[in-house]
């Protein structure tokens, strides 16, 4: 019973955590963001009616703080849960994440797409999105490289995503022998829950490659 119970528990933990994150992200996006925006427009109206230039410039400062806050809340919400995943699809959501990734870490990601994109369930796209995010963040943290590559291959009944860097690389056995590979474990687990497959290759001095494969049915 053990193994199944453990798998069941971690599936439950991952899923309930995802739901909670989604709730917070939507609250940020739809509730808080909208309110902040109302305050921003209100400040603008007040500013335009101010005759005292000192007050007007103070209002401008408040507006600047407000627009930075709106921007931060937006980025935070997108990072937590990309609403575009369900509206525009996996490729669009990942492309926009990659833009944010490049402007955050300075790493340029080449995106290659083969075949025609198909619609996949929210659960599966989320598993892929989170796993890609984890692989890309590992590159920013450890690969010591300025470039990465992501290749989507859409087949009739499966999708493969490869994420590759020509960076430092690492000794997979040595690293997984320790107990500190939560990120790698989570990618494996998410792909398993989604009914897919996860592969990891790395060579010291040559780089790292992860491959996610997921059966898709139309």
């Amino acid at each position: 019973m053990e193994l199944n119970a453990i798998n069941g528990a971690s599936t439950y933990i991952i899923q309930s955590q995802d739901e909670e994150i989604k709730r917070i992200a939507l609250e940020l996006h739809e509730g808080i963001s909208q309110n902040l925006f109302s305050v921003f427009t209100g400040l603008e109206v007040l500013q335009n009616n101010m005759t005292n230039p000192d007050m007007a410039s103070y209002a401008q400062e408040l507006k600047d703080i407000m627009s930075r806050t709106i921007q931060e809340v937006r980025l935070l919400s997108v990072e937590l849960y990309p609403t575009t995943l369900t509206t525009l699809g996996l490729t669009a959501a990942l492309s926009s994440y990659i833009k944010l990734y490049t402007s955050t870490f300075g790493i340029i990601v080449e995106i290659i797409s083969n075949g025609k994109e198909k619609t996949i369930s929210e659960g599966k796209s989320m598993a892929l999105f989170r796993s890609c995010q984890e692989a890309l963040i590992n590159i920013a943290k450890y690969a010591d490289t300025a470039n990465a590559k992501i290749v989507f291959t859409w087949n009739q009944d499966s999708l493969t995503i490869e994420i590759e860097d020509i960076g430092k690389g690492f000794n997979i056995e040595a690293v997984t022998a320790g107990n500190s590979c939560k990120g790698i474990a989570a990618m494996k687990e998410r792909m398993f829950i989604a009914g897919g497959n996860f592969q990891l290759f790395s060579t010291i001095g040559k780089g790292t490659k992860v491959i996610f494969t997921l059966p898709i049915s139309c």
Binding site: Q71, E72, T102, S103, T104, F105, G106, I107, A140, K141
Partner: protein, 161 residues
């Protein structure tokens, strides 16, 4: 006539920018840091970039937009006070991925101070080391003087725009 004036302003800005880069390098040499960078809020947006660096080991800084309140430069600009990281990523506030320039340039120790313009933080100077390093007390004076020089140059750029 107007065109001539615009050209003069532009030429002047180029010179000021060169002077800023030179000061950034001077700072790097004088405190023997591995990396020195100036993060600045762009004049027509709230974005913060790294327009001037010295000792960089790759070009990632060019693509990085510092997030307000995030990372060493973002925190220094948001609070207006200096910040030190002794041994990245140990004992940092938040996660290592919130410190992109430390990751991008493989920095271990870093020291950052705000750049003030009209009494407000407009940017940050970052002095970084790729091994654990504590800045000597007597470097403080040098850093202070050069930051004042940087502030003066930035003020002149802003005023000419």
């Amino acid at each position: 006539m107007l065109l001539r004036k615009v050209c003069l302003v532009m030429e002047c800005n180029v010179q000021l920018e060169e002077a800023l880069l030179a000061t950034c390098k001077e700072l790097q040499v004088k405190v023997s840091s591995d990396f020195t960078g100036i993060a600045l809020q762009q004049s027509n947006s709230t974005d913060i970039k790294w327009p001037f660096v010295a000792g960089n080991c790759n070009e990632k800084y060019k693509f990085i937009t510092v997030r307000y309140g995030k990372g060493i430069a973002g925190k220094v600009i948001a609070t207006g006070s200096p910040m030190t990281i002794e041994h990245f990523p140990d004992n940092i506030i938040g996660k290592s991925i919130e410190y992109p320039i430390m990751l991008a340039e493989n920095l271990i120790s870093a020291y950052a101070r705000p750049i003030m313009l009209n009494g407000r933080p407009k940017g940050a100077v970052l002095i970084g080391f790729r091994k654990k390093y504590t800045i000597q007390q007597n470097a403080d004076e040098v850093i202070k003087t050069l930051i004042e020089k940087i502030e003066d140059l930035i003020k002149r750029i802003y005023n000419s725009n």
